[in-house]
């Protein structure tokens, strides 16, 4: 009886221990309750995309219980250069959860509160004004009204600070408010960070702060520039440049050895090029430098060329699927990986709990989705976009990179390609996630 008790205690302790991430090793899927046959469907799906020239190449990684069960590459990173497991990808908005974590580390140290006005650290944000559009034909086209309350740090982390991306007017061309915000941002030289940008993030955020916001603080989910403000906030509070802070406090402890804001020259040959696809079979490499498509400006080279002074908390990161898996596994482990704790369990719970009340996160998903701190969260399985479980959290990057963490099944799915435009990949990712979920066989 005693022995049984000890065995039960040991089993229980093992279940409670956070899982360690394995070093590039994969395990047989069946050992972690996944089906090899079903996981192979992911590869088949991606192979077909490459054969049809919808995309040039991609990497997909599926892990469960801390072990990588599937780590497949397809196609090419560049002409004559096959995709590799350690190919470097521009993950764009998948930078946001990392910068959110940086803010929350400072929060845990008592250096800021989520309820603090942003103006406490960046005075230019004091007394914000909210823009209200007047009827068509009015001159001026808008009026400015005082904000009902301060913009808080939590507003930044939940995208309820009223700061859209300038190019949101391209996504919603009939929206006069977004068109007006675009015009103001263009006048003020506000950069999304997606192209070579002069000056520092601080220079830009101070100009952004003087512009009106698009909604009363806390009243609307408007995805965009708030993460860049968060990035500058990290600089102000920590006294370190954003890339230095994140390298020291996140990349290094997590052994994310292939993650950067600006890629060192000796590693640049491992970067995938960015491909432009019409999803009908026409694929071409995006040439270096900025490209303008309507209101959207992007570049494949801002992390390797140009002034390299602008550290975008919204879109600046370059990484590998394995490195990002380590970040995701840390979140799944509630803040710890391989014995190194980055934030407390309680803070990860805060990140992965709905923080936007009755609002919905419909930028990437639909009405069944909420938003925590830096992460989209599936709130129910009744709506069209399903990630496998209530409580799944995920996000994406504009060059078609995605990650999804299912805490209930302890499963992580990561997909990385470098394909523009972003909107083509939705169907592919939704199917990938279905295949990943369907591979669960225990």
């Amino acid at each position: 009886m005693k022995i049984l008790g000890w065995m039960f205690g040991l089993w229980f302790a093992l279940q409670a221990m956070p899982v360690a991430a394995d070093e590039f090793q994969t395990v047989r899927p069946e050992t972690v309750g996944l089906s090899s046959v079903r996981l192979d469907r992911l590869g088949d799906l991606l192979d077909a995309q490459v054969e049809q020239k919808k995309m040039a190449g991609a990497v997909v990684l599926v892990a469960r219980h801390g072990k990588i069960a599937y780590f497949k590459t397809v196609g090419v990173a560049d002409t004559g250069k096959p995709m590799r497991q350690d190919t470097l990808f521009r993950v764009c908005s998948m930078t946001k959860p990392v910068v959110t974590l940086a803010v929350l580390q400072l929060y845990e140290q008592g250096k800021l509160l989520l309820s603090d006005p942003v103006a406490k650290y960046i005075p230019e944000f004091s007394h914000p004004k909210v823009i209200e559009m007047l009827p068509e034909g009015a001159d001026p086209a808008f009026r400015l009204v005082p904000a009902k309350r301060d913009i808080t740090i939590k507003d930044l982390l939940t995208h309820t600070a009223g700061m859209p991306y300038s190019f949101a007017s391209e996504w919603y061309p009939k929206d006069r408010l977004l068109r007006q915000m675009h015009d103001l941002y263009e006048e003020a030289g506000i950069s999304s960070g997606m192209y070579e940008t002069e000056g520092t993030i601080g220079d830009m955020v101070k100009r952004l702060a003087r512009l009106p916001i698009a909604s009363q603080p806390g009243e609307a989910f408007i995805y965009g520039m708030a993460a860049d403000v968060s990035g500058y906030l990290v600089e102000v509070v920590s006294g370190q440049k954003l890339d230095d802070y994140i390298a020291e406090h996140i990349f290094k402890p997590l052994k994310m050895n292939d993650s950067y804001f600006f890629v060192p020259p000796e590693k640049q040959d491992r970067m995938s090029v960015v491909w432009k696809s019409d999803w009908q079979g026409s694929l071409e490499k995006v040439a270096p430098g900025p490209h303008r498509e309507g209101d959207y400006v992007y570049s494949p080279t801002f992390q390797t060329a140009g002034p390299k002074t602008f550290l975008s908390g919204g879109v600046g990161m370059v990484t590998t699927p394995y490195d990002y898996f380590r970040f995701a596994q840390m979140l799944l482990n509630k803040g710890e990986l391989d014995g190194v704790r980055l934030v407390s369990r309680k803070t990860v719970e805060l990140m992965t709990t709905n923080q936007i009340g009755k609002l919905y996160e419909t930028t990437l998903h639909d009405e069944g989705w909420k938003f925590g701190l830096g992460l989209g969260i599936q709130a129910d399985r009744e709506h069209n976009v399903d990630a496998g479980d209530v409580g799944t959290f995920e996000w994406a990057g504009l060059y078609s990179t995605r990650f999804s963490v299912d805490p209930k099944e302890e499963k992580i799915t990561i997909f990385m390609s470098q394909t523009h435009p972003f909107n083509h990949h939705f169907e592919l990712w939704d199917k990938l996630l279905v295949l990943s979920t369907s591979s669960i066989s225990d």
């Binding site: 004091s126 007394h127 001026p140 009026r143 400015l144 301060d150 103001l184 512009l211």
Partner: protein, 195 residues
């Protein structure tokens, strides 16, 4: 005797109520957490401006304009708060909405049909020779503060030109040869009333 007791109790109750009322007025501990006022100082400015030059040459050109404006006001005996806004639309809005008494910008920032409501002083010209546009200080006529600012600015500007400081500022920021030899004659056509 009964009446005395009642009167005493009434007096006591009244005194107690008075003491409690006095305590209530000092009850900051019960004030709400969310204060009605916003954090920090609200920015108040007399004059608004915006970045006039293209991004490429922004720094030198806008610094020149800023220095000319500061120096002209100073020479005219005024020291207004000048707020450089990041957007032309916002600067124009501030002027037309009455948030600022004056605007530093292009003449075209003030609609022609509204120009009569403003006193306008041209102090620089941008663009090519055949298509120059005045850079102005535009002040609301009906606003006494604005009117005083404009008068002071105009007086100060003419002093800068007369003493050679205007040319010094432009040459320092933009290099020599940007303005003609006779600055007064160059600006006169755009300043009706200048002799």
């Amino acid at each position: 005797m009964e009446n005395s007791k009642t009167s005493f109790h009434t007096l006591l109750a009244g005194l107690l109520a008075g003491v409690l009322l006095c305590c209530a007025t000092g009850a900051h501990a019960t004030a709400p957490r969310i204060a009605p006022q916003l954090f920090g100082e609200e920015r108040k400015s007399d004059v608004v401006a915006y970045q006039l030059f293209s991004m490429a040459s922004a720094k030198a050109g806008d610094e020149m304009i800023a220095e000319l404006v500061r120096s002209a006001f100073s020479a005219g005996g005024e020291n207004p708060v000048v707020d450089m806004l990041p957007s032309r639309q916002l600067a124009r809005y501030a002027l037309f909405n009455g948030d600022a008494a004056a605007l530093v910008g292009l003449l075209s920032d003030v609609h022609e049909k509204e120009r009569k409501q403003y006193r306008v002083v041209t102090f620089y010209l941008v663009g090519s020779d055949d298509r120059q546009e005045p850079v102005v200080l535009a002040c609301r006529k009906q606003n006494s503060r604005a009117d005083n600012l404009c008068k002071a600015f105009e007086q100060g500007l003419r002093q800068l030109i007369k003493k050679g400081q205007y040319r010094q500022i432009v040459d320092k920021q933009m290099g020599t040869g940007k303005v003609p030899a006779d600055i007064l004659e160059w600006l006169k056509p755009h300043n009706p009333g200048w002799k």
